[in-house]
Symmetry: D2
Amino acid sequence: MLNTTKQKFIAVIGGSQATPAELEAAEQVGHEIARAGVVLVCGGMGGVMEAACRGACAGDGLTIGILPGESRLHANEYVKIPIVTGIGYARNVTVVKSAQAVIAIGGSYGTLSEIGYALQSGLPVVGLNTWGISRNGNEKSPIIEAKTPTEAVETALEMIG
Amino acid sequence: MLNTTKQKFIAVIGGSQATPAELEAAEQVGHEIARAGVVLVCGGMGGVMEAACRGACAGDGLTIGILPGESRLHANEYVKIPIVTGIGYARNVTVVKSAQAVIAIGGSYGTLSEIGYALQSGLPVVGLNTWGISRNGNEKSPIIEAKTPTEAVETALEMIG
Amino acid sequence: MLNTTKQKFIAVIGGSQATPAELEAAEQVGHEIARAGVVLVCGGMGGVMEAACRGACAGDGLTIGILPGESRLHANEYVKIPIVTGIGYARNVTVVKSAQAVIAIGGSYGTLSEIGYALQSGLPVVGLNTWGISRNGNEKSPIIEAKTPTEAVETALEMIG
Amino acid sequence: MLNTTKQKFIAVIGGSQATPAELEAAEQVGHEIARAGVVLVCGGMGGVMEAACRGACAGDGLTIGILPGESRLHANEYVKIPIVTGIGYARNVTVVKSAQAVIAIGGSYGTLSEIGYALQSGLPVVGLNTWGISRNGNEKSPIIEAKTPTEAVETALEMIG
């Protein structure tokens, strides 16, 4: 049995539309999460979410898709555990709260809302070519920037001990 | 890999406070769901939810807990996949929409809200000593009553083909 | 200024599809709520919700529509305060929690989920030709049945003091 | 009767903890929104939300508080219409979707999530000393920065025609 206080989940967030470079990074991130024995949780749709799930499946990992809509049929084909929330994009809060760390890859405004929720929840957020955020231009970004997928996963793993 | 269009989920709903008979029924329902190779989804808390998860774990099954609060630490110890929704009891809609059939065991008003959502979503609802509902007293209840845990699980499995 | 601890809200719940008798009852209920100086809150859509809002507007009352979707354009035309939740039918919990008492008129399964939430939240629920519910067939229904719209509103007003 | 297709709502977002300068700005923003005949919607709690509602009440405006919790008693005292969502911080999506434009004043991570949701929903976001956001450092921020409360409200009003 998984031990829910020890089995770690990492959320991978990013756009349903993404560049080839982002998709490649997401797939590698998913693969390394799976190889580390960590569960991947995401929004369950296409783009970065699908690429990350594909990578995790290739590494024989578990993938959870927290879907916005009314049917599991909208999940990408690499989601092993589809959760049908029925609450639209309010599900963004569920994606991040279910994890112990978050890796953001590229992403648009939905990803920005997830970064906000993750930081509000006190979760570490590792970024790969994602949003830069600052208050008044004079504060250090709370997003930990990584240069490679490997560095992103290693950093997230370190943060969650 | 699980195939998300074929791997079935059954939701077990019921109160966090329950009678010994309800707990025993829930444990047996969970056990038989697991033995049928079906994933058990529930609200992740105590009472009927915990007993059903315990039974499923004894049958080496997978258990998903859709939690109302802000932390996975509130899940019962038999939840293998804790989903931290952060949306309170609005998560009841997610519990039922994530499944293809629902088994209601005893239960209080929260269970009634889940029965409403399940029927609204067109899901079959099998009842074990749960709410009776009617409109104008002259309609057949849409809840399929079962007499035993075995009959409840068999009926739910039949309904989802 | 309204005093939020004294200004009462009554939720009117019921189906978006309704019989002529239900619509007539809803309109009268809305009218009497408005005449009592109470704010009407509902799901903002058609059927019973629209009829109740129409009645409240005729009585110069305030109407709030807690909408399931993504746009205020889906509100019925008698909603003065459209709230766009974006959370689908999970918004049922918001409809009832925003009120101090609930009047259920007819209704289908969505209404049943709202009755469950209202009773879970400890709110009085007055019914007009709505769901009958019981546990084991031997308990008194927690829904207070009224015979007329006037009686329904008077009962709800009494319950909220 | 308000006409729901013409009556505009502006959301004011910002932290429940705020600097004196932010509170002063929020109060003035609320006042000018009210004087323009526009409804103010916010998260209903303290800090920037309370100051904005106080300003709106001074201008005899209508204030709506979309509360995260389970009781209207947690609303600040200047909220005229308390909406009790019961969905926690997932209510951030409801705050912005209920408005036609958003003014962000200071703010922490919750505000960042609301900015993300507002931009995802295609709403104009005017900022007063709030988050700066960028993708790759080379894109223009989608937040329209204002220098004064008056400019913020004028800009928001222009955007919503």
